[in-house]
């Protein structure tokens, strides 16, 4: 299924580019890249494994942003806000993508529609009505996380943690069940795998990473993030990044997030514009995303079968 972790060299290159972004930019590019990357990674279990086009991560980000901002405004510490934000985010995403429609026997496309509605409700109804007055400094071990540099470091750390976590899930029994639940549900059922639970877990993982993205936006804004950053439009940008990255390739998604996050402000474009433009290029080229364009297969489909020990 998902491509295994790339060799250390690839990670070194990605890390070097990330450091470059941190050092060279006076802008808040690290947060942009991290938010795009977390959103794209959150879509790997949904779009890549379960094959459902979902806005759940952006709904999760909105819910997490609301929870995080509320806890911070109540004067709580950052770890509390972070845990609250990711827990609420993942619960929302799991609920809207999986628990409700699919465990009720509905199809994945029903879940996709519910995720759109959830994202729109969080964005249109939930966030604008949250009135927060006071605001505590977000301190973690005495470091003010609303500062640009610590925030950039935190962004890169969260992005790396999400990539490693997702790679761990991909090679685990839970990840294999998620992949099978999407493309071969009957085979999964015959093997004793609980398809509904697999959807729930995929929603939880996606919600966790989407929640981290929402939390970063809270820290960056020092308040509730601007609504545009957790709107369904942002969801479109995340979906485009995931597809450009190859949907199954974790380094591919990271690379796509880097390109869009760094290039969009330089070109004076919105993230979503550039991401969708990249998506169009990828579709026109007929590739399975960035890794395919660069000559690396996103999925093992291009690998010829081993014929050495051919069975009878």
């Amino acid at each position: 299924m998902t491509e295994p972790l790339p060799p250390a060299a690839t990670w070194a290159v990605l890390g070097a580019v990330a450091v470059l972004v941190l050092v060279s930019s006076g802008d808040v590019s690290a947060v942009r890249v991290a938010v795009l990357g977390l959103g794209g990674l959150a879509l790997v279990p949904l779009l890549g494994w379960l094959r459902v086009l979902s806005f759940a991560p952006v709904a999760a980000a909105g819910a997490a942003a609301a929870a995080g901002a509320w806890v911070l405004a109540a004067g709580q510490a950052v770890p509390v806000a972070f845990v609250a934000a990711s827990a609420v985010g993942s619960a929302t995403a799991a609920g809207v993508t999986a628990a409700w429609p699919v465990t009720k026997g509905e199809s994945g496309s029903a879940a996709a529609w519910v995720s759109v509605i959830a994202a729109a409700v969080v964005w249109g109804v939930g966030l604008p009505h949250l009135r927060l007055r006071s605001w505590s400094q977000p301190l973690l071990f005495g470091i003010d996380l609303s500062d640009r540099r610590p925030l950039a470091v935190l962004s890169v750390l969260l992005l790396a943690a999400a990539a490693l976590g997702l790679a761990n899930v991909a090679r685990s029994a839970a990840g294999r069940e998620m992949a099978a639940a999407g493309v071969a549900p009957e085979l999964a059922t015959r093997s004793g795998a609980d398809v509904s639970a697999a959807w729930l877990r995929a929603g939880a993982v996606a919600g966790l990473f989407g929640g981290w993205a929402g939390f970063l936006l809270v820290l960056q804004a020092g308040a509730l993030p601007p609504l545009s950053q957790v709107s369904p439009t942002a969801g479109i940008a995340w979906i485009a990044v995931a597809i450009v990255g190859g949907t199954l390739s974790i380094p591919g998604v990271l690379a796509a997030a880097l390109v869009v996050g760094v290039a969009a402000p330089l070109l004076g474009m919105a993230d979503v514009t550039l991401a969708v433009a990249g998506l169009v290029v990828v579709v026109v080229m007929g590739g399975r995303g960035l890794p395919a364009l660069l000559g690396r297969a996103a999925a093992p489909a291009a690998t010829p079968p081993v014929t050495g020990a051919s069975p009878p």
Binding site: T2, W49, V169, R171, A173, R190, G192, L248, A301
Partner: protein, 213 residues
């Protein structure tokens, strides 16, 4: 474990009764063995009663039946580029799973479990004659590899009763090799095998042939 199953398939005049003693290899013939397989694995209607070692499974869903020890191999695989043959077999492995959070964090125990699973599957695939195919993607697989991979998946789950939809569409030597490999595993693990065959197809099983509908 013994199996005692009654299937009344839609449109069938008489019920099909399958009786298999613990550790036996039984062949059941029917006009539509695929429908019987579907009734047994819960993907289709028609299972009136399924007694597995005295436990009634007919009311359970497909996944619960498999976890209870009744596993069906249809010998056909959905062809999906995102899964390797090893992933198909790993799906059958009912080894204890780590919690999701342990998986995400990648605790030593969770990683060890993943590695153990992979090693177990490679060993089993080697015994079943699937060694060269383990890393191949599950697309464009020859029918014989599909059948062998699905049987291996079923064996990997260490079932009490393995229901084999006999792959009659394969050439006889290939069918014989799959049967022989399954028989070796049956001797090794001691599960019961129920083979579903089409009426009129050449029966190769040496178990009792039971009344079909």
């Amino acid at each position: 474990m013994s199996l005692y199953a009654d299937c009344l398939l839609p449109g069938a005049a008489r019920p099909l009764r399958i009786e298999a003693d613990d550790g036996s290899w039984v062949t059941a013939v029917h006009e539509d063995p695929d429908a019987v397989a579907g009734a047994l694995d819960g993907t289709g209607p028609g299972a009136v009663g399924i007694l597995l070692g005295g436990r009634q499974l007919a009311g359970l869903g497909g996944a619960e039946r498999a976890r209870a020890g009744l596993v069906v191999a249809t010998c056909r695989l959905p062809l999906v580029p995102t899964m390797r043959v090893a992933d198909v077999v790993l799906l059958g492995l009912r080894a204890p799973h780590p919690h999701l959070w342990q998986t995400i964090i990648g605790t030593t125990r969770a990683r060890q479990m993943s590695d153990d699973d992979e090693a177990a599957v490679r060993a089993l695939a080697g015994r079943m004659g699937l060694a060269g195919w383990v890393d191949a993607p599950a697309v464009d697989l020859p029918p014989v590899v599909q059948a062998l991979a699905d049987v291996t998946r079923a064996v990997a789950s260490l079932p009490d009763v393995l229901v084999l939809r006999r792959p009659e569409w394969l050439p006889t030597p290939a069918l014989a090799e799959i049967t022989a490999a399954l028989r070796d595993e049956q001797v090794r693990e001691g599960f019961t095998v129920v083979e579903l065959a089409t009426v009129g197809a050449d029966p190769t099983g040496d178990g009792a042939t039971l009344a079909g509908a």
